[in-house]
Amino acid sequence: MERELKIYEPEEEIILNMGPQHPSTHGVLRIILKLSGEKIVDVKPDIGYLHRGVEKLGETYTYVQFLPMLDRNDYLSATTNEFGYVLAVEKLAGIMVPERAQYIRVIFSELSRIASHLVWLGTFCLDLGGALGGGTTVFLYCFRERERILDIFEKMTGSRLHPHLMQIGGVRYDVYPSIDKDIKETLQTVEKRINEYEEMLINNPVFIDRTKGIGILPKEVAMEYGCSGPVLRGSGVKFDLRKACPYSSYDKFDFDVPSFDGGDVFDRFRVRMEEMRQSIKIIMQAIEGLPQGPISSQMPVKVKVAIKPKPGEVYVAVESPRGELGYYIYSDGKPFAYRVKIRAPSFSNLSVLPFLLKGHLVADVVAILGSIDPVFGDVDR
Protein backbone atom coordinates (compact mmCIF):
# COMPACT_ATOMS: atom_id res chain seq x y z
CA MET A 1 0.00 0.00 0.00
CA GLU A 2 1.22 3.38 -0.90
CA ARG A 3 1.88 5.63 1.99
CA GLU A 4 -0.22 8.71 1.83
CA LEU A 5 1.75 11.90 2.01
CA LYS A 6 0.07 14.29 4.31
CA ILE A 7 0.86 17.84 3.48
CA TYR A 8 0.42 20.19 6.34
CA GLU A 9 -2.19 22.73 5.55
CA PRO A 10 -2.61 25.47 8.07
CA GLU A 11 -6.21 25.73 9.02
CA GLU A 12 -6.07 29.00 10.79
CA GLU A 13 -5.37 32.12 8.90
CA ILE A 14 -5.26 35.53 10.42
CA ILE A 15 -6.49 38.62 8.72
CA LEU A 16 -4.21 41.59 9.04
CA ASN A 17 -5.61 44.96 8.27
CA MET A 18 -2.78 47.06 6.91
CA GLY A 19 -3.72 50.66 6.72
CA PRO A 20 -5.31 53.12 6.11
CA GLN A 21 -3.24 54.44 8.99
CA HIS A 22 0.02 52.70 8.38
CA PRO A 23 3.42 54.31 8.01
CA SER A 24 4.33 52.63 4.77
CA THR A 25 1.19 52.49 2.70
CA HIS A 26 2.13 55.82 1.12
CA GLY A 27 -0.96 57.61 2.19
CA VAL A 28 -4.27 55.98 2.78
CA LEU A 29 -4.30 52.57 1.18
CA ARG A 30 -5.92 49.79 3.12
CA ILE A 31 -4.71 46.30 2.33
CA ILE A 32 -6.57 43.41 3.86
CA LEU A 33 -4.08 40.59 4.06
CA LYS A 34 -4.97 37.01 4.76
CA LEU A 35 -1.90 35.50 6.36
CA SER A 36 -0.84 32.01 7.09
CA GLY A 37 2.05 32.58 9.45
CA GLU A 38 3.86 35.35 7.66
CA LYS A 39 2.93 34.19 4.20
CA ILE A 40 0.31 36.06 2.26
CA VAL A 41 -2.56 33.91 1.07
CA ASP A 42 -4.98 36.50 -0.13
CA VAL A 43 -4.93 40.24 -0.71
CA LYS A 44 -7.68 42.74 -1.00
CA PRO A 45 -6.70 46.35 -1.51
CA ASP A 46 -9.23 48.94 -0.52
CA ILE A 47 -9.03 52.46 -1.86
CA GLY A 48 -11.13 55.58 -1.74
CA TYR A 49 -10.05 57.15 1.54
CA LEU A 50 -8.77 60.25 -0.22
CA HIS A 51 -11.61 60.70 -2.66
CA ARG A 52 -12.28 64.37 -3.15
CA GLY A 53 -14.45 64.31 -6.23
CA VAL A 54 -11.99 66.10 -8.45
CA GLU A 55 -13.62 64.82 -11.64
CA LYS A 56 -16.97 66.17 -10.51
CA LEU A 57 -15.37 69.50 -9.63
CA GLY A 58 -14.16 69.64 -13.23
CA GLU A 59 -17.78 69.82 -14.31
CA THR A 60 -18.63 72.79 -12.14
CA TYR A 61 -15.39 74.74 -12.31
CA THR A 62 -14.56 76.54 -15.50
CA TYR A 63 -11.48 75.55 -17.45
CA VAL A 64 -9.54 78.40 -15.86
CA GLN A 65 -10.57 77.61 -12.30
CA PHE A 66 -9.99 73.89 -12.52
CA LEU A 67 -6.23 74.14 -13.05
CA PRO A 68 -5.17 74.91 -9.47
CA MET A 69 -7.32 71.98 -8.32
CA LEU A 70 -5.32 69.57 -10.46
CA ASP A 71 -2.14 70.39 -8.59
CA ARG A 72 -3.66 68.56 -5.66
CA ASN A 73 -4.21 65.36 -7.60
CA ASP A 74 -0.77 63.90 -7.85
CA TYR A 75 0.80 66.20 -5.35
CA LEU A 76 4.34 64.95 -5.86
CA SER A 77 4.51 66.05 -9.46
CA ALA A 78 1.95 68.82 -9.72
CA THR A 79 3.13 70.28 -13.00
CA THR A 80 2.55 67.12 -15.00
CA ASN A 81 -1.09 67.15 -13.92
CA GLU A 82 -1.53 70.67 -15.22
CA PHE A 83 0.42 69.76 -18.33
CA GLY A 84 -2.01 67.05 -19.38
CA TYR A 85 -5.05 69.18 -18.71
CA VAL A 86 -3.86 72.28 -20.55
CA LEU A 87 -2.81 70.13 -23.50
CA ALA A 88 -6.26 68.58 -23.60
CA VAL A 89 -8.09 71.90 -23.43
CA GLU A 90 -5.78 73.45 -26.01
CA LYS A 91 -6.43 70.57 -28.37
CA LEU A 92 -10.14 70.95 -27.79
CA ALA A 93 -10.17 74.69 -28.35
CA GLY A 94 -7.54 74.69 -31.06
CA ILE A 95 -5.14 76.97 -29.23
CA MET A 96 -1.51 77.19 -30.31
CA VAL A 97 1.21 77.49 -27.69
CA PRO A 98 4.33 79.62 -28.19
CA GLU A 99 7.58 77.73 -28.27
CA ARG A 100 9.02 79.44 -25.22
CA ALA A 101 6.03 78.33 -23.18
CA GLN A 102 6.44 74.79 -24.45
CA TYR A 103 10.04 74.75 -23.34
CA ILE A 104 9.20 76.13 -19.91
CA ARG A 105 6.51 73.48 -19.55
CA VAL A 106 8.96 70.74 -20.44
CA ILE A 107 11.62 72.06 -18.07
CA PHE A 108 9.28 72.21 -15.13
CA SER A 109 7.51 68.95 -15.73
CA GLU A 110 10.88 67.21 -15.93
CA LEU A 111 12.00 68.97 -12.77
CA SER A 112 8.92 67.73 -11.02
CA ARG A 113 9.63 64.25 -12.37
CA ILE A 114 13.04 64.33 -10.71
CA ALA A 115 11.52 65.67 -7.50
CA SER A 116 8.89 62.97 -7.55
CA HIS A 117 11.38 60.18 -8.18
CA LEU A 118 13.56 61.51 -5.38
CA VAL A 119 10.64 61.31 -2.99
CA TRP A 120 9.96 57.83 -4.26
CA LEU A 121 13.55 56.74 -3.70
CA GLY A 122 13.56 58.16 -0.21
CA THR A 123 10.28 56.65 0.87
CA PHE A 124 11.06 53.33 -0.79
CA CYS A 125 14.27 53.08 1.20
CA LEU A 126 12.43 54.15 4.31
CA ASP A 127 10.02 51.29 3.75
CA LEU A 128 12.83 48.81 3.47
CA GLY A 129 13.89 49.94 6.90
CA GLY A 130 17.30 50.06 8.41
CA ALA A 131 19.69 52.89 8.01
CA LEU A 132 22.19 53.44 5.22
CA GLY A 133 21.09 52.27 1.85
CA GLY A 134 17.60 52.27 3.13
CA GLY A 135 15.99 53.83 6.08
CA THR A 136 16.21 57.37 7.20
CA THR A 137 19.61 58.05 5.71
CA VAL A 138 18.71 57.83 2.04
CA PHE A 139 15.33 59.32 2.85
CA LEU A 140 16.89 62.46 4.24
CA TYR A 141 19.51 62.64 1.50
CA CYS A 142 16.80 62.50 -1.14
CA PHE A 143 14.76 65.17 0.55
CA ARG A 144 17.85 67.34 0.75
CA GLU A 145 18.17 67.24 -3.03
CA ARG A 146 14.45 67.60 -3.60
CA GLU A 147 14.48 70.71 -1.49
CA ARG A 148 16.81 72.39 -3.96
CA ILE A 149 14.50 71.54 -6.85
CA LEU A 150 11.51 72.87 -4.92
CA ASP A 151 13.47 76.06 -4.29
CA ILE A 152 13.57 76.57 -8.05
CA PHE A 153 9.82 76.04 -8.18
CA GLU A 154 9.37 78.56 -5.42
CA LYS A 155 11.53 81.16 -7.07
CA MET A 156 9.71 80.66 -10.34
CA THR A 157 6.09 80.45 -9.22
CA GLY A 158 6.13 81.43 -5.57
CA SER A 159 4.85 78.08 -4.40
CA ARG A 160 6.77 74.91 -3.69
CA LEU A 161 4.34 72.09 -4.19
CA HIS A 162 1.33 73.50 -5.98
CA PRO A 163 2.89 75.74 -8.57
CA HIS A 164 -0.13 76.57 -10.75
CA LEU A 165 2.44 77.28 -13.40
CA MET A 166 0.49 76.59 -16.55
CA GLN A 167 -2.49 78.22 -18.07
CA ILE A 168 -4.38 77.45 -21.19
CA GLY A 169 -2.33 78.83 -24.05
CA GLY A 170 0.97 79.00 -22.27
CA VAL A 171 2.44 79.42 -18.84
CA ARG A 172 1.59 81.94 -16.17
CA TYR A 173 5.09 83.04 -15.27
CA ASP A 174 8.09 83.92 -17.34
CA VAL A 175 11.41 82.56 -16.12
CA TYR A 176 13.35 84.69 -13.68
CA PRO A 177 16.71 86.03 -14.85
CA SER A 178 19.16 83.69 -13.14
CA ILE A 179 17.20 80.51 -13.70
CA ASP A 180 19.68 78.79 -16.00
CA LYS A 181 22.45 79.18 -13.45
CA ASP A 182 20.20 77.86 -10.67
CA ILE A 183 19.00 74.89 -12.65
CA LYS A 184 22.41 73.93 -13.94
CA GLU A 185 24.02 74.09 -10.52
CA THR A 186 21.22 72.16 -8.90
CA LEU A 187 21.08 69.47 -11.52
CA GLN A 188 24.80 68.94 -11.53
CA THR A 189 24.70 68.30 -7.81
CA VAL A 190 21.61 66.16 -8.14
CA GLU A 191 23.24 64.02 -10.83
CA LYS A 192 26.33 63.51 -8.71
CA ARG A 193 24.25 62.60 -5.69
CA ILE A 194 22.02 60.23 -7.64
CA ASN A 195 25.11 58.36 -8.75
CA GLU A 196 26.23 58.26 -5.17
CA TYR A 197 22.95 56.83 -3.92
CA GLU A 198 22.91 54.26 -6.66
CA GLU A 199 26.41 53.18 -5.70
CA MET A 200 25.31 53.03 -2.11
CA LEU A 201 22.25 50.93 -2.85
CA ILE A 202 23.33 48.49 -5.52
CA ASN A 203 26.45 47.63 -3.54
CA ASN A 204 24.44 46.93 -0.45
CA PRO A 205 23.98 43.15 -0.30
CA VAL A 206 20.97 43.45 1.96
CA PHE A 207 19.26 45.88 -0.39
CA ILE A 208 19.81 43.51 -3.31
CA ASP A 209 18.50 40.68 -1.19
CA ARG A 210 15.34 42.60 -0.38
CA THR A 211 14.63 43.71 -3.95
CA LYS A 212 15.97 41.21 -6.48
CA GLY A 213 13.48 38.58 -7.55
CA ILE A 214 10.74 40.08 -5.40
CA GLY A 215 7.38 40.91 -6.92
CA ILE A 216 8.08 39.76 -10.46
CA LEU A 217 5.62 41.25 -12.93
CA PRO A 218 5.68 39.49 -16.30
CA LYS A 219 5.42 41.58 -19.44
CA GLU A 220 2.05 40.17 -20.50
CA VAL A 221 0.43 40.69 -17.10
CA ALA A 222 1.72 44.24 -16.94
CA MET A 223 0.15 44.99 -20.30
CA GLU A 224 -3.11 43.27 -19.43
CA TYR A 225 -3.54 45.29 -16.27
CA GLY A 226 -2.84 48.51 -18.13
CA CYS A 227 0.28 49.37 -16.20
CA SER A 228 2.33 52.21 -17.51
CA GLY A 229 5.37 54.25 -16.66
CA PRO A 230 8.27 52.78 -14.73
CA VAL A 231 6.24 49.73 -13.71
CA LEU A 232 5.72 48.78 -17.35
CA ARG A 233 9.25 49.68 -18.37
CA GLY A 234 10.63 47.66 -15.49
CA SER A 235 8.93 44.65 -17.06
CA GLY A 236 10.74 45.10 -20.32
CA VAL A 237 8.26 47.08 -22.43
CA LYS A 238 9.96 50.10 -23.90
CA PHE A 239 6.97 52.40 -23.97
CA ASP A 240 7.11 56.05 -23.08
CA LEU A 241 4.55 58.58 -24.26
CA ARG A 242 7.24 61.20 -24.61
CA LYS A 243 8.80 59.05 -27.33
CA ALA A 244 5.80 57.12 -28.60
CA CYS A 245 3.65 60.15 -29.36
CA PRO A 246 5.67 63.25 -28.54
CA TYR A 247 3.56 66.04 -27.15
CA SER A 248 4.58 69.63 -26.62
CA SER A 249 8.18 69.85 -27.78
CA TYR A 250 9.54 66.53 -26.57
CA ASP A 251 10.47 65.55 -30.11
CA LYS A 252 13.16 68.23 -30.10
CA PHE A 253 15.15 66.69 -27.28
CA ASP A 254 17.50 63.79 -27.35
CA PHE A 255 16.90 61.23 -24.61
CA ASP A 256 16.62 57.51 -24.06
CA VAL A 257 13.80 55.46 -22.62
CA PRO A 258 15.32 53.07 -20.09
CA SER A 259 13.79 49.65 -19.70
CA PHE A 260 14.85 46.46 -17.99
CA ASP A 261 13.60 42.93 -18.49
CA GLY A 262 13.55 41.57 -14.96
CA GLY A 263 10.19 42.90 -13.87
CA ASP A 264 11.09 42.76 -10.21
CA VAL A 265 11.38 45.48 -7.61
CA PHE A 266 15.05 45.96 -8.36
CA ASP A 267 14.42 46.65 -12.05
CA ARG A 268 11.74 49.18 -11.29
CA PHE A 269 14.29 50.83 -9.04
CA ARG A 270 16.85 50.89 -11.85
CA VAL A 271 14.34 52.31 -14.35
CA ARG A 272 13.56 55.21 -12.07
CA MET A 273 17.20 55.92 -11.34
CA GLU A 274 17.95 55.99 -15.06
CA GLU A 275 14.90 58.14 -15.76
CA MET A 276 16.16 60.82 -13.43
CA ARG A 277 19.38 61.01 -15.44
CA GLN A 278 17.43 61.24 -18.69
CA SER A 279 15.29 64.03 -17.23
CA ILE A 280 18.41 65.91 -16.31
CA LYS A 281 19.59 65.50 -19.89
CA ILE A 282 16.31 66.90 -21.25
CA ILE A 283 16.32 69.88 -18.91
CA MET A 284 19.90 70.72 -19.79
CA GLN A 285 19.02 70.73 -23.49
CA ALA A 286 15.87 72.76 -22.92
CA ILE A 287 17.53 75.38 -20.78
CA GLU A 288 20.33 75.75 -23.35
CA GLY A 289 17.95 76.23 -26.22
CA LEU A 290 15.24 78.23 -24.45
CA PRO A 291 13.83 80.42 -27.26
CA GLN A 292 12.81 84.04 -26.87
CA GLY A 293 9.25 85.15 -27.40
CA PRO A 294 5.92 85.34 -25.65
CA ILE A 295 4.95 82.88 -22.95
CA SER A 296 1.28 82.76 -23.80
CA SER A 297 -0.75 82.93 -26.96
CA GLN A 298 -3.92 83.99 -25.18
CA MET A 299 -4.67 87.34 -23.62
CA PRO A 300 -4.27 87.13 -19.84
CA VAL A 301 -7.20 85.64 -18.01
CA LYS A 302 -9.54 88.26 -16.57
CA VAL A 303 -12.77 86.38 -16.09
CA LYS A 304 -13.44 82.79 -15.29
CA VAL A 305 -15.27 82.16 -18.54
CA ALA A 306 -12.24 83.13 -20.60
CA ILE A 307 -12.00 79.81 -22.46
CA LYS A 308 -14.98 78.45 -24.35
CA PRO A 309 -14.05 75.51 -26.53
CA LYS A 310 -16.28 74.23 -29.28
CA PRO A 311 -18.44 71.19 -28.52
CA GLY A 312 -16.49 68.01 -28.89
CA GLU A 313 -14.42 65.49 -27.01
CA VAL A 314 -10.74 64.91 -26.61
CA TYR A 315 -8.35 62.53 -24.92
CA VAL A 316 -4.80 63.62 -24.25
CA ALA A 317 -2.27 61.66 -22.25
CA VAL A 318 1.07 62.71 -20.90
CA GLU A 319 3.83 60.72 -19.29
CA SER A 320 3.71 61.55 -15.62
CA PRO A 321 6.37 60.15 -13.28
CA ARG A 322 3.95 57.33 -12.56
CA GLY A 323 2.88 56.55 -16.08
CA GLU A 324 0.20 57.48 -18.53
CA LEU A 325 -1.83 60.36 -17.14
CA GLY A 326 -4.78 60.88 -19.44
CA TYR A 327 -7.50 63.49 -19.55
CA TYR A 328 -10.74 62.88 -21.35
CA ILE A 329 -12.79 66.04 -21.71
CA TYR A 330 -16.23 66.27 -23.21
CA SER A 331 -17.30 69.80 -23.97
CA ASP A 332 -20.75 71.05 -24.91
CA GLY A 333 -19.65 74.57 -25.75
CA LYS A 334 -19.97 75.97 -22.25
CA PRO A 335 -17.03 77.51 -20.32
CA PHE A 336 -16.93 74.39 -18.17
CA ALA A 337 -16.57 70.81 -19.25
CA TYR A 338 -19.54 68.47 -19.47
CA ARG A 339 -17.40 65.61 -18.21
CA VAL A 340 -13.81 65.29 -17.17
CA LYS A 341 -12.33 61.83 -16.76
CA ILE A 342 -8.86 61.46 -15.40
CA ARG A 343 -7.02 58.27 -16.23
CA ALA A 344 -4.74 58.09 -13.23
CA PRO A 345 -1.55 56.07 -13.66
CA SER A 346 -1.32 55.18 -9.99
CA PHE A 347 -4.76 53.59 -10.09
CA SER A 348 -3.96 51.26 -12.98
CA ASN A 349 -0.57 50.41 -11.55
CA LEU A 350 -2.04 49.69 -8.15
CA SER A 351 -4.56 47.25 -9.59
CA VAL A 352 -1.74 44.79 -10.18
CA LEU A 353 -0.96 44.66 -6.46
CA PRO A 354 -2.97 41.51 -5.53
CA PHE A 355 -1.25 39.63 -8.35
CA LEU A 356 2.16 40.68 -7.11
CA LEU A 357 1.65 40.11 -3.42
CA LYS A 358 0.34 36.57 -3.34
CA GLY A 359 2.88 34.14 -1.93
CA HIS A 360 5.20 36.75 -0.55
CA LEU A 361 5.96 37.58 3.07
CA VAL A 362 4.62 40.49 5.05
CA ALA A 363 7.96 42.24 4.81
CA ASP A 364 7.72 42.19 1.02
CA VAL A 365 4.41 44.04 1.00
CA VAL A 366 6.08 47.33 1.69
CA ALA A 367 8.86 46.71 -0.83
CA ILE A 368 6.43 45.83 -3.61
CA LEU A 369 4.02 48.60 -2.79
CA GLY A 370 6.90 51.05 -2.66
CA SER A 371 8.14 49.91 -6.04
CA ILE A 372 4.76 50.61 -7.61
CA ASP A 373 4.89 54.15 -6.23
CA PRO A 374 1.23 55.06 -5.95
CA VAL A 375 0.18 58.52 -4.88
CA PHE A 376 -3.19 58.42 -3.25
CA GLY A 377 -4.28 61.83 -4.37
CA ASP A 378 -3.91 60.35 -7.82
CA VAL A 379 -5.52 56.98 -7.13
CA ASP A 380 -8.66 58.28 -5.47
CA ARG A 381 -8.90 61.69 -7.14
Binding site: Q65, G133, T137, E196, Y197, N203, P205, K302
Partner: protein, 166 residues
Protein backbone atom coordinates in the same frame (compact mmCIF):
# COMPACT_ATOMS: atom_id res chain seq x y z
CA UNK B 1 34.60 38.57 -0.06
CA UNK B 2 33.24 40.80 -2.82
CA UNK B 3 30.25 41.46 -0.59
CA UNK B 4 32.51 42.81 2.11
CA UNK B 5 34.15 45.10 -0.45
CA UNK B 6 30.69 46.28 -1.50
CA UNK B 7 29.77 47.05 2.07
CA UNK B 8 32.95 49.07 2.34
CA UNK B 9 31.84 51.06 -0.71
CA UNK B 10 28.55 51.78 1.02
CA UNK B 11 30.40 52.94 4.10
CA UNK B 12 32.63 55.12 1.90
CA UNK B 13 29.63 57.04 0.58
CA UNK B 14 28.30 57.36 4.11
CA UNK B 15 31.60 58.75 5.35
CA UNK B 16 31.65 61.20 2.46
CA UNK B 17 28.26 62.46 3.53
CA UNK B 18 29.30 62.51 7.15
CA UNK B 19 31.71 65.35 6.43
CA UNK B 20 29.41 67.39 4.24
CA UNK B 21 28.17 70.62 5.70
CA UNK B 22 24.89 70.73 7.55
CA UNK B 23 21.89 71.45 5.38
CA UNK B 24 19.56 72.54 8.15
CA UNK B 25 18.54 76.15 8.59
CA UNK B 26 18.25 76.80 12.31
CA UNK B 27 14.76 78.16 11.96
CA UNK B 28 13.84 80.57 14.72
CA UNK B 29 17.39 81.92 14.87
CA UNK B 30 17.90 82.16 11.16
CA UNK B 31 15.15 82.49 8.61
CA UNK B 32 15.01 81.21 5.12
CA UNK B 33 15.23 83.70 2.29
CA UNK B 34 11.77 84.26 0.87
CA UNK B 35 11.71 84.58 -2.91
CA UNK B 36 10.32 87.67 -4.63
CA UNK B 37 7.39 85.90 -6.20
CA UNK B 38 6.27 84.31 -2.95
CA UNK B 39 2.72 83.06 -2.94
CA UNK B 40 1.54 82.83 0.61
CA UNK B 41 -1.76 82.37 2.33
CA UNK B 42 -2.03 85.90 3.65
CA UNK B 43 -3.49 88.81 1.68
CA UNK B 44 -2.97 92.52 1.90
CA UNK B 45 -4.97 95.40 0.49
CA UNK B 46 -2.54 98.17 -0.48
CA UNK B 47 -3.52 101.82 -0.40
CA UNK B 48 -2.47 104.59 -2.75
CA UNK B 49 -0.63 107.81 -1.82
CA UNK B 50 -3.81 109.49 -0.59
CA UNK B 51 -4.42 106.71 1.86
CA UNK B 52 -7.40 105.40 -0.08
CA UNK B 53 -7.80 101.79 -1.00
CA UNK B 54 -6.69 100.80 -4.48
CA UNK B 55 -9.63 98.44 -4.62
CA UNK B 56 -12.51 99.63 -6.77
CA UNK B 57 -14.89 96.87 -5.71
CA UNK B 58 -15.20 95.48 -9.24
CA UNK B 59 -15.81 91.98 -7.91
CA UNK B 60 -13.58 90.29 -10.50
CA UNK B 61 -11.70 88.42 -7.79
CA UNK B 62 -14.92 87.33 -6.17
CA UNK B 63 -16.03 85.90 -9.46
CA UNK B 64 -12.92 83.96 -10.38
CA UNK B 65 -12.10 82.48 -6.98
CA UNK B 66 -12.42 78.67 -7.34
CA UNK B 67 -13.29 78.17 -3.70
CA UNK B 68 -15.68 81.13 -3.65
CA UNK B 69 -14.22 82.48 -0.46
CA UNK B 70 -13.90 86.15 -1.45
CA UNK B 71 -16.82 88.39 -0.68
CA UNK B 72 -16.88 92.01 -1.79
CA UNK B 73 -19.67 94.44 -0.99
CA UNK B 74 -19.33 97.74 -2.85
CA UNK B 75 -20.09 100.90 -0.92
CA UNK B 76 -22.45 103.49 -2.22
CA UNK B 77 -20.84 106.63 -3.52
CA UNK B 78 -17.20 107.36 -4.11
CA UNK B 79 -14.16 107.98 -1.95
CA UNK B 80 -11.87 111.02 -1.86
CA UNK B 81 -9.96 109.92 -4.95
CA UNK B 82 -13.15 109.65 -6.92
CA UNK B 83 -13.26 105.87 -7.13
CA UNK B 84 -15.77 103.33 -6.03
CA UNK B 85 -14.60 101.43 -2.98
CA UNK B 86 -15.59 98.32 -1.06
CA UNK B 87 -17.62 98.56 2.08
CA UNK B 88 -16.87 95.01 3.08
CA UNK B 89 -14.14 92.75 1.78
CA UNK B 90 -13.71 89.35 3.37
CA UNK B 91 -11.58 86.33 2.58
CA UNK B 92 -12.12 83.08 4.39
CA UNK B 93 -8.70 81.55 4.61
CA UNK B 94 -9.82 78.04 5.56
CA UNK B 95 -10.47 77.18 1.95
CA UNK B 96 -7.87 79.31 0.22
CA UNK B 97 -5.90 77.39 -2.41
CA UNK B 98 -3.28 80.12 -2.84
CA UNK B 99 -3.82 79.81 -6.58
CA UNK B 100 -3.24 83.51 -7.13
CA UNK B 101 -6.11 83.90 -9.59
CA UNK B 102 -7.56 86.79 -7.59
CA UNK B 103 -4.25 88.62 -7.78
CA UNK B 104 -3.99 87.92 -11.47
CA UNK B 105 -7.36 89.39 -12.42
CA UNK B 106 -7.21 92.52 -10.28
CA UNK B 107 -7.14 95.54 -12.65
CA UNK B 108 -5.76 97.96 -10.07
CA UNK B 109 -3.21 95.77 -8.25
CA UNK B 110 -5.44 96.15 -5.24
CA UNK B 111 -4.96 92.68 -3.76
CA UNK B 112 -1.52 91.20 -3.17
CA UNK B 113 -0.08 88.24 -1.39
CA UNK B 114 2.22 88.87 1.53
CA UNK B 115 5.60 87.35 2.18
CA UNK B 116 4.59 85.62 5.39
CA UNK B 117 5.50 81.94 5.17
CA UNK B 118 4.80 80.90 8.72
CA UNK B 119 1.52 82.57 9.37
CA UNK B 120 -0.76 80.68 11.70
CA UNK B 121 -3.99 81.43 13.43
CA UNK B 122 -5.18 80.39 16.84
CA UNK B 123 -8.88 80.76 16.21
CA UNK B 124 -11.28 80.65 13.33
CA UNK B 125 -12.02 84.34 13.66
CA UNK B 126 -8.46 85.09 12.72
CA UNK B 127 -8.86 83.06 9.56
CA UNK B 128 -11.61 85.35 8.38
CA UNK B 129 -9.73 88.25 6.85
CA UNK B 130 -11.74 91.43 6.95
CA UNK B 131 -11.05 94.69 5.17
CA UNK B 132 -9.44 96.33 8.20
CA UNK B 133 -7.26 93.33 8.92
CA UNK B 134 -6.01 93.12 5.36
CA UNK B 135 -5.15 96.81 5.22
CA UNK B 136 -3.27 96.40 8.48
CA UNK B 137 -1.41 93.29 7.30
CA UNK B 138 -0.60 95.02 4.01
CA UNK B 139 1.13 97.79 5.93
CA UNK B 140 2.79 95.45 8.39
CA UNK B 141 4.30 92.84 6.07
CA UNK B 142 6.27 93.03 2.88
CA UNK B 143 4.27 92.05 -0.17
CA UNK B 144 5.13 89.73 -3.00
CA UNK B 145 6.38 91.27 -6.21
CA UNK B 146 3.56 89.70 -8.21
CA UNK B 147 0.56 91.95 -8.69
CA UNK B 148 -2.17 91.93 -11.29
CA UNK B 149 -0.61 94.24 -13.86
CA UNK B 150 2.88 92.78 -13.55
CA UNK B 151 1.57 89.26 -14.05
CA UNK B 152 -0.59 90.24 -16.98
CA UNK B 153 2.23 92.17 -18.64
CA UNK B 154 4.36 89.07 -18.32
CA UNK B 155 1.71 86.98 -20.03
CA UNK B 156 0.45 89.30 -22.75
CA UNK B 157 1.58 88.18 -26.19
CA UNK B 158 3.13 91.06 -28.15
CA UNK B 159 0.52 92.61 -30.39
CA UNK B 160 2.76 93.04 -33.42
CA UNK B 161 3.42 89.33 -33.79
CA UNK B 162 -0.25 88.58 -33.55
CA UNK B 163 -0.95 90.92 -36.46
CA UNK B 164 1.83 89.31 -38.44
CA UNK B 165 0.42 85.89 -37.76
CA UNK B 166 -3.09 86.68 -38.91
Amino acid sequence: MSQILNVLKVLKVATKNFFRETFTIMYPDKKREIPERFRGPLFGLPTDNNGDLKCIACKLCEQICPSEIINVTPAEGKNKSGRTYPEKFTIELQACLACELCVQVCPTDAIVMLKVPGWAALSRDELLLTLEKMVEYGKKYESSIIAGNILRNMQTPPRREKVAAT
